[in-house]
């Protein structure tokens, strides 16, 4: 078996084992309801981190707007779910909402990519940062409703929609979307995470992925061997936006009232996802998943410590950064791993 294949299989195995352990804890009633509520967000942030790592680590372009793509995926899928709720079976509806959320995020990725990815330099970071804020503010001020006469859109108020009696408000301005069916659960979230990992890791080990990484490593050389730079930058970025959209779909189907606030979709959320990516190791997909899980759960689990919570959190951030990025420690870590592998090999023989 090739080395890369082995690595990807280990990643799937880690996710599945973690899932089984947590499920057992849940079924055995050993988990507080507070912790249970954290599992789905933990997984969708892990998905967002995988998406962002594709953009930052594999494509080599900094994006500060992945929360914006989550926002697009969340709102578009919530609207689909609200419209179709009751009309078709729940499972089918959720799958449809997921697909539409993903496709619309991908479209937004493409819209941003077409002008920006032709340029060389850090333009993408600035444009995506602005995109995240703009999309959030637009969704905050839109009133959208539907009745038998069709779709109504207003920028003023809910009353201005002038809905008929059978009408339904979809987006209620700053009040957001209420009553999206709660379809997300831990199992579905893990399945979406596995699909995202499957797509991203497969892509890295393929013709397209090599082209994308060659652009990251040396754009000029990559052009000189005939790689279409813009095309492959677009491919990487659009896939990344689409997966972030999938994280958004899980988000919207996990929350009773969703508003486009900074708390959920602001740039600080984008930065938080970037922190997961950087601390998990840029270009290291498995690391992103692990870092997202640890760093999302930690502040919540430390709530009991109250005053010292953020202090411990920041110490963990620093320690993780040192472990992942100090050359000496990385050497030691790799040596230790080799030793363990050898030991396991002897044990098996």
């Amino acid at each position: 078996m090739r080395k890369t294949q082995k690595k990807t299989l280990i990643t799937y195995a880690i996710v599945i084992i973690a899932y089984i352990i947590l499920e057992i804890f849940m079924k055995a009633g050993m988990m507080s309801s507070h912790l249970k509520g954290l599992l789905v967000p933990m997984v969708y942030y892990a998905i967002a981190a995988v998406a962002l790592n594709l953009c930052v680590g594999i494509l080599g372009e900094l994006s500060l707007g992945h929360a914006g793509f989550m926002c697009v995926g969340a709102f578009s899928s919530a609207i689909v779910s609200q419209l179709l709720s009751g009309a078709i079976p729940d499972a089918l509806r959720f799958i449809l909402a997921l697909i539409i959320g993903v496709v619309i995020s991908a479209l937004f990725g493409m819209l941003i990519g077409i002008p920006v990815l032709r340029l060389n330099g850090d333009y993408l970071a600035i444009v995506t940062l602005a995109f995240g804020e703009i999309i959030k503010n637009i969704l905050n001020s839109i009133y959208l409703g539907v009745d038998s006469a069709g779709v109504h859109l207003s920028l003023k108020s809910q009353m201005a929609l002038g809905l008929a009696d059978d009408g339904k408000v979809l987006i209620n301005g700053a009040m957001g979307i209420t009553g999206t069916p709660q379809d997300s659960n831990f199992t579905i979230a893990i399945v979406v995470l596995l699909i995202s990992l499957f797509i991203v890791q497969n892509m890295i080990d393929s013709r397209d992925g090599r082209a994308i990484m060659s652009i990251r490593d040396n754009r000029i050389a990559s052009e000189s061997v005939g790689i279409n730079i813009t095309k492959y930058k677009m491919t990487g970025f659009v896939v990344s936006a689409a997966i972030a959209g999938a994280a958004g779909v899980l988000f919207s189907h996990n929350i009773a009232t969703m508003q486009a606030t900074s708390q959920y979709f602001g740039y600080n959320v984008s930065i938080m996802i970037l922190v997961y990516v950087v601390l998990g190791g840029i270009g290291n997909i498995r690391g992103s998943v692990i870092a997202a899980c640890i760093l999302y759960l930690l502040p919540e689990l430390l709530r009991g410590l109250n005053k010292y919570r953020m202090l411990i959190y920041s110490i963990v951030l620093i320690v993780m950064m040192i472990i992942n990025w100090s050359p000496a420690l990385r050497d030691k870590r790799d040596k230790l791993r080799k030793k363990l592998m050898k030991g396991a090999g002897h044990g098996a023989a």
Partner: protein, 252 residues
């Protein structure tokens, strides 16, 4: 018909005429040298030929096809591959993947097949692996296939860059100072490699070089550039004996 025909190529940066009225005709199978003092415009000529810069005037014809104004990636597909003066490998990719990026345009499967590893993926990847290993074998790099290319010794990095360029199946290979920074042993080995490519792939090669031993050892013809202009061109021996050339290189 000549493989490469360059006529009246010129480019100006600001007020500086970096390349002025450059002409070059290469027949198929030739090993041609482009020499000149520092700043003479040699690399600029390469950058013009490969579309990195757009020429202000002039015409570039490859195998009868007008490729003037084509973009870099197109020119590679047209049939000109190059290496760089300061090595530009894909340093975080393994050796074999560097060559496989070079093979990119000769093998094909869709993005969907990339993401799902289905359809043609396994078959085409296997073919690519075989083709890449064949090339690495020629350059004696097959043992290092899984090394990160940044971890190769310097001489092997140069070789890998040539292997990657060859993977694109060019008609014409441009080598920009392949012996720069090499010790005499490495240079000797490089000369062998260049001869090998020529014989094995029947390749036409244009190279920039400062190492006169290498130039006089393998190049059949030379063009000498000085201040962007052609100073002399012709058979290697005649050119190197030309007093103008000696003056430009060593001074009076």
């Amino acid at each position: 018909m000549a493989l490469l025909e360059v006529t009246n190529l010129s480019i100006t940066f600001g007020g500086l005429r970096a390349v002025d009225n450059f002409n070059l005709t290469m027949e198929k199978g030739e090993l041609y040298g482009l020499i000149g003092p520092n700043g003479a415009g040699k690399t600029t000529v390469f950058n013009l030929l490969t579309g990195v810069y757009k020429a202000d005037e002039g015409l570039i014809k490859l195998d009868g096809l007008d490729i003037t104004g084509h973009r870099t990636a197109e020119i590679d597909r047209d049939g000109i591959a190059r290496t760089f003066q300061n090595i530009r490998l894909f340093k975080d990719l393994p050796v074999i993947d560097n060559v496989k990026v070079g093979l990119h345009n000769q093998f094909n499967y869709s993005t969907a097949e990339s993401m799902l590893h289905c359809g043609r993926y396994h078959k085409v990847e296997k073919e690519m692996d075989e083709e890449a290993m064949k090339l690495l074998g020629v350059f004696d790099l097959d043992k290092e296939r899984d090394y990160l290319s940044a971890n190769l010794p310097y001489g092997k990095q140069r070789k890998l860059e040539i292997a990657r360029a060859m993977a694109t199946k060019p008609k014409l290979l441009l080598l920009d100072e392949p012996a720069a920074g090499m010790n005499p042993n490495e240079t000797a080995e490089l000369m062998e490699t260049i001869q090998l490519i020529r014989d094995k792939f029947d390749m036409t090669i244009l190279l920039i070089e400062h190492d006169m031993k290498l130039v006089s050892g393998i190049c059949e013809k030379l063009t000498v550039l000085n201040f962007g202009r052609i100073l002399a061109h012709g058979d290697t021996k005649d050119v190197l004996a030309n007093p103008e050339v000696i003056k430009a290189y060593i001074g009076e």
